[in-house]
Symmetry: C2
Subunit: 714 residues, 2 copies
Amino acid sequence: MIVSALLTSVGINLGLCILFFTLYSILRKQPGNVNVYAPRLVAEGKFQHNSHFHLERLLPSPGWVRRAWMPSEEELLSSSGLDAVVLMRIFVFSLRVFSFAGIVGIFILLPVNYVGNQLDFSDLPNKSLDIFSISNVNNGSKRLWIHFCSAYVFTGVVCYLLYYEYKYISMKRLAYFYSSKPQPHQFTILVRGIPRSAGNSFSGIVESFFMEYHPATYLSHLVVRRTNKVQGLIKDAKLLYNRLIHMKSKNSTQQKFMRDGFLGLFGRKVDPVDHYEKKLEDLEENVRIEQLGLSVSGEEVPAAFVSFKSRYGAAIAFHIQQSTNPTKWVTEPAPEPNDVYWHFFSTSFIKRWISKLVVIVACILLTILFLIPVVFVQGLTHLDQLETFMPFLKGILTIAFVSQVITGYLPSLILQLFLKIVSPIMKIFSSMQGYISHSQIEISACKKVLWFTIWNIFFANVLSGSALYQINIFLEPKNIPGKLAIAVPSQASFFIAYVVTSGWTSLSSELFRVIPLIWDFIRRHCSGSYADEFEVPSIPYHREIPRILFFGLLGITYFLLAPLILPFLLVYYCLGYIIYRNQLLNVYAPKFETGGKFWPIVHNSTIFSLILMQAIAIGIFGLKKLPLASSLTIPLLVLTLLFNEYCRKRFLPVFIAYSAESLIKKDKEDKNDPSMDEFLDKLVTAYRDPAMMPIQYSTNSDGHTSPLLTPAEV
Amino acid sequence: MIVSALLTSVGINLGLCILFFTLYSILRKQPGNVNVYAPRLVAEGKFQHNSHFHLERLLPSPGWVRRAWMPSEEELLSSSGLDAVVLMRIFVFSLRVFSFAGIVGIFILLPVNYVGNQLDFSDLPNKSLDIFSISNVNNGSKRLWIHFCSAYVFTGVVCYLLYYEYKYISMKRLAYFYSSKPQPHQFTILVRGIPRSAGNSFSGIVESFFMEYHPATYLSHLVVRRTNKVQGLIKDAKLLYNRLIHMKSKNSTQQKFMRDGFLGLFGRKVDPVDHYEKKLEDLEENVRIEQLGLSVSGEEVPAAFVSFKSRYGAAIAFHIQQSTNPTKWVTEPAPEPNDVYWHFFSTSFIKRWISKLVVIVACILLTILFLIPVVFVQGLTHLDQLETFMPFLKGILTIAFVSQVITGYLPSLILQLFLKIVSPIMKIFSSMQGYISHSQIEISACKKVLWFTIWNIFFANVLSGSALYQINIFLEPKNIPGKLAIAVPSQASFFIAYVVTSGWTSLSSELFRVIPLIWDFIRRHCSGSYADEFEVPSIPYHREIPRILFFGLLGITYFLLAPLILPFLLVYYCLGYIIYRNQLLNVYAPKFETGGKFWPIVHNSTIFSLILMQAIAIGIFGLKKLPLASSLTIPLLVLTLLFNEYCRKRFLPVFIAYSAESLIKKDKEDKNDPSMDEFLDKLVTAYRDPAMMPIQYSTNSDGHTSPLLTPAEV
């Protein structure tokens, strides 16, 4: 890529960003868009509706930036939880890393690269970007030792920042735990693999087991039941209820009759409101009958939520293998009650193990299958091939504009669309693995999407060969540095453009919320949908975190090779910091709280980026005829791995479980709390399946419609 | 190797074995050798001294075989512990595996190999052994499918047996635990990384921590102190005491005087007994003063043995991370009191981690350095090279006998001697890793010796190239099967000879106990050593188990390639079964009890052998132009790995810690036991450093000499 092309691309994207930001600052002030741009504030009742028209509403203003910047980390923590803070810490950490890298890269490495003359160019505007990359340094030049020293210093700084951040977030996690109110999931474990015993129900078996082995701390239990049928009925009832509400709101303006027969076309005329109300009552009656049947003789799953009188009691039952057979009475900490994923409650030890294996195979298959669109996209850039396959297109393809669109925009559009599909697919895979909470599924999907992105964007682009060839490189570990050293620098300009186009654009579309905006527009103006029925979205960590981390990987990998990427990354992270803060405060509401469990993913990804950078450095120094530097980089790689190992031992346990010290401290605090008795009473029913909750939509009994009870409210 | 050479080797070794067995059955009946051949019986007082001479004493008899065969597994368990049973189960398991392999190999694979004509031979006696190996099967022959099926069936049978054995031994382990009396180590944990706090002793910190967080179950603690100086003094006192006893026993026959000055040559004449008694008293006084000093102001190590009132209480403290900082208050189960390794009590988390890394590097270095003797030995087999380096040897080397000895026996002798050094070195390495018990050190050393043996005997011989070349093969995993398929079959005859020479000979020398026999002879007849001072040896698991497992690896690997190895292995395992039983009953006394923790090593080693066999099969089928069979073997490899993964989940936890169920059951049983109070009283002092025990050798106080108190007797 030549410099002018990069500048053009930067110009266009900068223009687009400014346009989006301007539009955003206008649109967000329109009362009609409040459900798109501030659903959280609406739900919390913090939004003042101001329907009066005034001119200011049509002028762009940067006030939202200030409002997003203002709140302190403590305020963010209290409003959006620790996971949101962790998300913002990724930006803070990346800004620190790339500020340092940017200074070193732009003021030291870039000039060194520029004064080399390994590559041959004539005049600046047509010069390739490669003049700023390590490829331009002369072979065997002593100047490469500057790169060598930068690699050491940069690794040192990143490791220090990683250590600092890990420590900071583990402290935050502990502080969050200490300051938390008693919560059901702290007192509860999930037991799976309850052994069958003739003549006894699972409930009886669980009761007698825990009364026998945990008599002092055992409080209660709830055996999980298969409730798919009731879940379906309740869903129908809810839909019907929403429809009814919608009808009633319209009722005042117009009165309509319908027939009660087939498709509403035959039968006698009835008032539709009465008709649906009758139907809803019937449905509710059905639900009640089903629930009654379930609670008496429903199909029990060999899994149960077991609650204890103290956090420490639950921790003991979770940490110590309960049965002599490690595949029976398998315990794990319970998720928050509203975080439980009730739909796919696979329980048997073997079944979960097998489904895990199946998911691994499926992920590998998906990764391989994803090469098909990649190959197809690569085909699009060669229009002549397309013409020979589909001669009828010849006429259209000769039009300059069409061919530009097809070669220039279509490939990346198709790729981005396919990438968009990946994160939901990975989430489905994770949910099939037998996780029992939405948060665990998100964490697992986050890892999967991250590795998929690294593999299919970074490696597939860098190696750009057939799938088999790409796997081959990892079957010959000795050759990895050499092969990467040839392939990676040549893709530098592609990834600089990627940061500008994909990175900046994804940020502005995140802010602008294009799809929800269009969706909301359609709902309000075209369909007869129900305006009141809107849900506050939660931030899809499994989609956002891998994207942010992938740019970090690009920055760390290209720090040595092509430091020109760094300023663009800094812009990305600065914008991202403001935009995600704004979205967390206005748009997304937290649905669950993992207590910062996403951080280890960030840490591992950064370590992987460092290792990749060092492996490429080993290869580059070898290629550049400086074998001593190449060998001397190996200790750096070993030291980085040792540092990672140390962090695993020092910090990772904090993110897995709380220590006896903290649990007992919390328990002791609670002892003097008079509200604990009430809490323990509530705890007994906290983990009731929402499908087993009494529902009451219809107005026949007490005259007013009560909303669906969610477990969080119990 | 040709058939006749193999027969000669078998003949010679068979003769040697019979000679050793005959000598053994005569020598063991001589009363003078009782300390060599039945030290355990002597120590237990079960041996009837019968000094009367009768002719039967000079005749070989097979009675010992019957006596070794007779005891049931339960009797062995009660006399030698579970570890001895596990050792014998290796033989039982191997006999089962190789009986099946032998039947398939000799009656199906061997004839198939023999009727092939890929290799060209003229008459049988000069025929190479390769005629019985897979190399003789024609390329692309359909008969190779028989080998393919054998690989599947054999893997299935071995996996079934592995599963059965793992289950059997984990049941035995649980039964052993249920039937055990209360033992100190079940109630105790070791805490390391006690945080320093100004103004408080470690003892006070431990006390307050456990009183705070485990008030219901905490019993007592003992902080570890540095006692190297006292340990030295006690050792001196013990030596002096033994010398004194020896002198007194001689005193009755002869009276000698010595001078009390320099080297006993100057100064005034004294009775040596009085002189040494005086010296011993002084030493004991010194020890007492030192001990007093230590217990008041001795250097405390930030580690302590903490005892609890119940097994479950100890397990809770061990399983749950105690401190919010995972590198502080690190807990692990305590070893048996007499199993504690007091000498190298490294305690800091970081120190232990670094020493572990250092040990790993040292092991790798040792493995590489070991190639030096291997290369030297390979040089010996080329005498002409030796002559050019050392021309003065020319005259000697031309003598046929000398050259035969040098080329034939010396190389393997040197190798065996070097191998003998490896197991003690590995033990030293393991003890440097910061393990706190002899049993953990033995287990760790066992693993190290096993991998060292597999690498340096199997791979170094098979690949027989430079060290660098050998590592290279593992940097290109794709090529491993192909390279092994070429290299491994060509070494078949070498390993058949290895089983016969090294395997059979090691067994007979184990039975004959050459070195202890010579040592005992020297002690009794030449030196003025003290006959009463003999220790019952314990079986060096870290030396024996790797050797036995290595023959299993050879058998499994060569089952497909050269089934001729199997009958010789069967003989090895049959002899081994009898001989090790005999030695366990008569010679070795158990020093510690790991409760069968050696079995997972056996399991992993067998799985590794299977994987190796399958990888070679993949390569062989490829070489033999049967690519379909080659590809169809890959699922077998994957299935074997999955089987291993399942076993890890199902059985390994049983070998790591006991479950809540079993611990609480045992605790409940004890509640009604009236002797528990007494046991708990004793528990408080069970983990006192032996260097802090009062010693009393001299006769001045109570008139009789009391032996050294060992912690086991407290």
